[in-house]
Amino acid sequence: MNAVKIFRSRHYKIADVYTPYAVHGLERALGMKRSRLPWITFLLGITGAGLKVWFEYWTTMVDWPINVGGKPWDSLPAFVPVTFEVMVLLAGISTVLVFFGVARLYPGKRTKLVSPAVTDKDFVMVIDEEDATFDPEFVRNLLFDLHAIDVQERLTEETGK
C-alpha cells in the first residue's frame, strides 16, 4: 500500500493492482471513486417493488377478482410481504448481474494472470509506461527499496511485485 501511495505521489500511472484479497484502504491510496452500483440496486429495487404492487392489484382486482373471506379489494397491507420479497429478489440478483457485466466476468472466460500466484499470495502493481521521462532503472530501484520481490518489464506493461 505504501508503494502505491509513493508511486501516486510521483505521478506514475498505476494501471491496476492485483491482490489475493480485498485490501481495505487501497482504494483511497489509488484514488479510486466509489462504485455507482448502489444506485443501480436502489433503482432496480424500486422498479421491482413498483411492478409487483401493480401486478398484485391487477391480478386481484382487475383481471379476475375473487372474494376470499370478504377481504377488501384494496388490501394493500396484505400485498406488502410479497412486494418486499420481490424487491429484494430483483435488486439482489440484478445487482450481481450488473456487476458481472461491468467487471466483465462471465463463465468460461479465459484469464491471463499477471502472476500465477496472484490469487494465492502475490501482490502485483502494474505501472503504465507511456512517458518519455520514464526511467525503468529508477523505478526498479525504488520498487526494490519498497521490498518488492521481483520487478519485470513487459512489452505492454511493467509489473512490480
Binding site: D16, V17, Y18, T19, P20, Y21, A22, V23, H24, L30, M32, R34, S35, L37, P38, T41, T59, T60, D63, W64, V68, K71, S75, A78, F79, P81, V82, E85, V86, V88, L89, A91, G92, I93, T95, V96, F99, F100, A103, R104, L105, Y106, P107, G108, T111, L113, V114, P116, A117, V118, T119, D120, K121, D122, F123, V124, L142, L146, H147, I149
Partner: protein, 484 residues
Amino acid sequence: MLDTFTLRRMPLIQGNKTPATVTDDISGLIGQKPSGLWYGAIVLSFSMLIVGVAAASYLIATGIGTWGLNNTVGWAFDITNFVFWIGIGHAGTLISAVLFLLRQRWRTSVNRAAEAMTIFAVICAGLFPVLHMGRPWLAYWMLPYPNTRGSLWVNFRSPLVWDFFAISTYFLISLTFWYVGMIPDLATLRDRAKSKIKRWLYGFFSLGWDGSYKTWLRYETVYLLLAGLATPLVISVHTIVSWDFATSVIPGWHTTIFPPYFVAGAIFSGMAMVLTLMLIARKTMRLEDYITVRHIDAMSKLLILTGSMVGLAYATEFFVAMYSGNPYEEFVFMNRASGPLAWAYWIMVSCNLGSPQLLWFRKIRHSFVGVFIISIFVNVGMWFERFVIIVTSLHRDYLPSNWSNYTPSLVEIALLVGSFGLFFTLFLLFCRFLPVVSMSEVKGVLHIGHHHKGSTDERTSDGRDIPQRERHHERGKNIPVSSL
C-alpha cells in the same frame, strides 16, 4: 489457552499464518484423500437420505393418508420440520450478512460453511410443504404465471403465498451471496488445480477472476449491498413463516409476539447447528487453527443472548395468555404445560431456556465438548418448540368432541431422518469439493500490512518471517524519499 486472562489477546487465527499457508491449508483439504471419518459419515448420511427418498416415493404414490394426521391435527411433523429447517438456515445469513455489516471479523472463518448450511437447510425445508401439497407435481401452480385455467392467479392475500415468495427469494439470494463470496476462492482453486477437468470446472465458475483491484472494489460494494439486502430479508422470512400461524384465529397461534419470537428462535437454533457442524468440521478436517476458541466463544455468547430472548418469549406468551381473560387462550397454554404433550413442552423449556444458561461459565464456553453437547440439546429443544406450537395448539380445539391426539407414522419419521440425511450428505460433499473456509476473507484478517505485533509482513508472501516488521514499514516510507 484456558489460562489466558483477557480474550483480546487471543488471535483470531492461530499458527502465524501467511496468505500462502492459508491457501495451502484450505485448498489442500480439497485435494487430499478424505479421512475414514468422512467416508463413514457420508455412508451414514447417504443411507439416511435413501430412507427419506423411499418414504417420499411411497408418500407421493399413496398420499397424505400415510401420515398420522387427522381432522383435528392437520399440521404436525411436516410443518414442524419445515419451520425447524428454515430456522436453521437463518444463522447462516446472520453470520454472513448481519455480522458483516457489524464488522465482526471473527465471521470470516465460519461464514462460508454457515452459508452452505443455510442453503442446504432451505432445500430441506422447502421439501416439506411441497410434499404436504399431496400433489407435489403441481407445485409450480404457486407461481403467478398466465395459465389456461382462465388465468387464475394466486391469492396474494394468503400468508401461504407470502411464504412461497419468502422462501424462494431467501433461497435465491442466499445462493447468490454464497456464490459471489466464493468466486475469488474458486479462482484460487483454478490456479492450483492439477487435473484438466478441475481446472476447467473451477475456471468456468470463477468467471475469469484475475484479482484486479478495480474488480475487488466493485466486488466489495456488491457484497455489502447483498449483505444489506439479506439482513432485512432474513428477518422478513421468519416473520412471514410466523404469520402462517399468527394470521389464523387458533388460540396459541393468534398472537402478535410471533414474528420477533420466531426470528430469535430461528437464529438461536441455527447458531446451535452452526456450532454442531463447526465443531465436527474442526476436528475431522483439522481446522483447529481457523476455528479457534474465540469463534466458539463468540457464537456461544450469541447462543446465550438468543436463548434468553426465546425464554423471555415463552414467559411473555404464557403471561399474556393468562392475563388476556380469554378462556381459550388460557386453556391452550395450561394444556401445553400440563396436558398429554406436557413432556414435549418441558423438553422444549429445559433444552432452550436451561441448557444455554450453562454457557455463562467461561469454563464451559471454552470446552469444545461442553459447547457441542449444549448445541445438540438446543437443536433438539428447538425442534420440539415447533412441535409444541403446532400440535398442542391444534389437538384440543373448541369442541371437546373434536379432541384427538397425534402420533407420527413411520413415513413421517423416515422423512425427518431423510431430511437430516440430505442435509449432511450435501454438507459433506461441500466440504470435499469447495473451500470450507473463505480464503480471501481470512487472508484479509491476518493483520498483514497493519502495525500489530506478532503478524507477518505483506512482502513475505512465500512464508518467510520478518520479525521487526514495523521498522521495515518505516524504511519503506523513508528510503525512497531520501534517495531522491
